[in-house]
Subunit: 216 residues, 2 copies
């Protein structure tokens, strides 16, 4: 018999949020499960009740914690936006302008995990891939709406563009992580942002300035 | 007293090439020095004569083996080209069109290393950063020549563009590695390639088709 359902769910989320943090800062392979347990306020026994191994823990971190982040930071704002192309630009500007040295050092938790596990653990790779697919799919659907609204150029393949945006974003974050350089991040994301802004139809260029102007 | 200078140099290069391979396939943190020794044809004693620790080995892999790859694959062709912008496009097309599943799985050795060591070992991070800087610098100098030749649009900041190209390339390789998908690679690199092609000045658009046509 374990703890009651609601408490169990709360504890599980707390452990996952600690584990996300520790893996994010140190990397997955370089982190021991003891480091995660130490960072949590729990005993080994309690911890192993929820996650029998480091791999079980990491899978739950990908499925739940990183998935939730992707949903909150990217997919929800895009899904709720009346001008998804402008919102995508705002999200990229946020990363460009508000990344602290701490953010630069950490990089992206999904890509960190991707590069560590893809070659050595195919089941974990598939879980990472799932979130890349959902992320790219969410951006693509949002851009499709912009296209239907006549805001995004009609000749653009939105799946291709969404893939390019995620690739450009991940590459920019990787370079910034390796160089600890805000300037590198700004250069790479700045070019991506200008590229997206140039894909607005001529009729809608003025609208962009109005709608996003206040947030600049 | 060790082996004579020339033999020592040859053995060292051989060990580095084995280590590059093993780290590339499995990742740095997930690889033990014993795995590298086993993959080489050398005894532990001989191996430790050259590289006293896994970290010493990895530093030499970054400085020499990955450095040499960067030089051969990117910097030399660009430095020797009479049309660097066209050559950059050719290099990206080669990655887009000739990546086997084995390439996709491995990803980029520099970025793999970057994401594993940046957060936990600042000296190794600095060595990785050095090669990103050299790589971006080499592309930027080459693009500067294209600009002086009137081939690349004059309003382009070549450092910014070079940073964006490396970021877009690395992100595309990461996504392909996580998804084992050639299609993802083609989508992300295809967009980057079209972006670069659109930066040729109008006068030189026809020239592009001529010069790179035979290699398509």
């Amino acid at each position: 018999m374990g703890p009651p359902e609601r408490k169990r769910e709360r504890t599980r989320r707390e452990l996952l949020s600690t584990a996300l943090e520790v893996f994010w800062v140190n990397g997955y392979n370089a982190t021991s499960i003891d480091q995660v347990i130490e960072a949590s306020r729990f005993t080994k026994g309690a911890f192993y009740y929820y996650f029998p191994s480091k791999r079980d823990l990491a899978q739950a971190v990908i499925d739940d914690a990183i998935g939730e982040l992707t949903q909150q930071r990217w997919l929800d704002p895009l899904a709720e936006s009346s001008d998804p192309l402008a919102t995508l630009v705002v999200l990229l500007k946020r990363s460009r302008d508000h990344s602290t040295m701490d953010h630069l050092r950490r990089g992206c938790p999904l890509n960190n995990m991707a590069l560590e596990v893809s070659a050595i653990d195919d089941e974990m790779r598939a879980r990472v891939q799932h979130w890349f697919d959902v992320w790219i799919g969410g951006i693509s659907s949002a851009l499709k709406r912009s296209q239907q609204d006549g805001v995004l150029r009609a000749d653009i393949d939105t799946v291709e563009l969404a893939t390019f945006v995620v690739a450009g974003f991940e590459g920019a974050i990787s370079l910034a992580k390796a160089s600890h350089s805000e300037e590198t991040l700004q250069r790479a994301l700045g070019t991506l942002i200008r590229y997206l802004e140039d894909l607005r139809t001529v009729n809608n260029s003025a609208a962009t300035a109005d709608r996003t102007g206040g947030k600049r």
